[in-house]
Amino acid sequence: MIEAIGLHKHFGALHVLKGVDLRVADRELVFVIGPSGSGKSTLLRCLNRLETPDAGSIVVDGIDLMHRRTDLNAARRRIGMVFQGFNLYPHMTALGNVTLALRKVAGKGRAEAEALGLAALERVGLRDRAGHTPGQLSGGQQQRVAIARAIALEPRVMLFDEPTSALDPELVGSVLAVMRELREDGMTMVVVSHEMGFARAAADRVVFMDHGQIVEQGPPAAIFEAPQEARTQAFIGQIQRH
């Protein structure tokens, strides 16, 4: 489903991705962990071309994202993204947030877009909040609306960049529950997060990144219980102490 090979990315003199290869199979859930600044967000943002790598190839659902003539807007419809800071449109209602791209990108009429939007809000348990603006919602609710905004477009892949790290601890569960349901529906997902419990329960594979490289990857149990690399051991030890 995702095949990203040999990704390099610089920000000025800073070499942020140093030859990253990431393959994600259909219906697979891949967890990406690693210290802050190791390039996890940059990697994720390359996968929908919010960031343009300096070198490497990215193919998602058969679409070559690095090809000059690829329609990125059409491709992004198929790749949902959820951000740490939710990034909901504050001047629109929850339903407005969800229907904007349905209308402007997918070309649905108002009635159809609203029906689809309400169905997406239903899936995240917030149909009754359709008329609320982001300011009237809790962080957990906002993040679920953000998920609804992405899934309303029926993406083939979902990218999550630390979806719960801006949330109060008591609100994390509601977002993880929605993600788990997506998983059960067979969504292909790449999740940057340090929610170990969720990773253990739901991830097929955990990828550990450090300094712009993938250091080690494997099933959650292997990475969390018996990491091979010293850097992985140090990192796992550190987050488990917290």
Binding site: L50, N73, R76, L100, K104, R149
Partner: protein
Amino acid sequence: MLDTFFNVEIMKAAWPILLAGLGNTLLLSVTVVPLGLLGGLMLALLARLHSPWVRWPLMAWVDFFRAFPPLVLLILLYAGLPFIGIELGGFGCVAIAFFLNTGAYYGEILRAGIDSVPTGQTEAARSTGLSASQTMAWVVLPQAVRNVLPDLMSNTLEVVKLTALGSVVAMPELLFQARQAQSLTYNPTPIVVAALVYFALLWPLVRLLSRLENRALRAG
């Protein structure tokens, strides 16, 4: 005293003249404000192109027209353009001068508004497949305008006041008409009435503006 500044007979006689002036002031305002906003929007959008070929001329343009006194600009257009064979008349000159002057101001305000919208908004929109221009139109601009609404309104207030400049190029707006009536009647009453009309026209805007500003202050 009352006969000098508030002469009812003269007021009655001058009223139709002043009313025509008010009509022209309003017409001028509803021409010049959208024109300035349009010019400003164009400048603000151009400012987002990062090419130095756009940036430097743009900055020079904005600085020039903000530094240039609008009255001088207007007289220059009115007196100068006929020499190169362009006869625009008072209305045309006022429209162009305001487009240049007030567009530069609106442009700076809108640019600040666009800059105030977090990049995460654009990223979220683009990640759902919206194009750059759709993102600007539906996500960024509405928030940008909301963030700088007090500044936009206060500039609009200035623009409406500045329409009085039209009087120097014989545009029959409110001030020009009042001066006409004054010179016909040898009495300042028409000017006093014009001042009151300006006040009645602008005071609601001023009130609305301070309410918006107070609200912005409270919102932090």
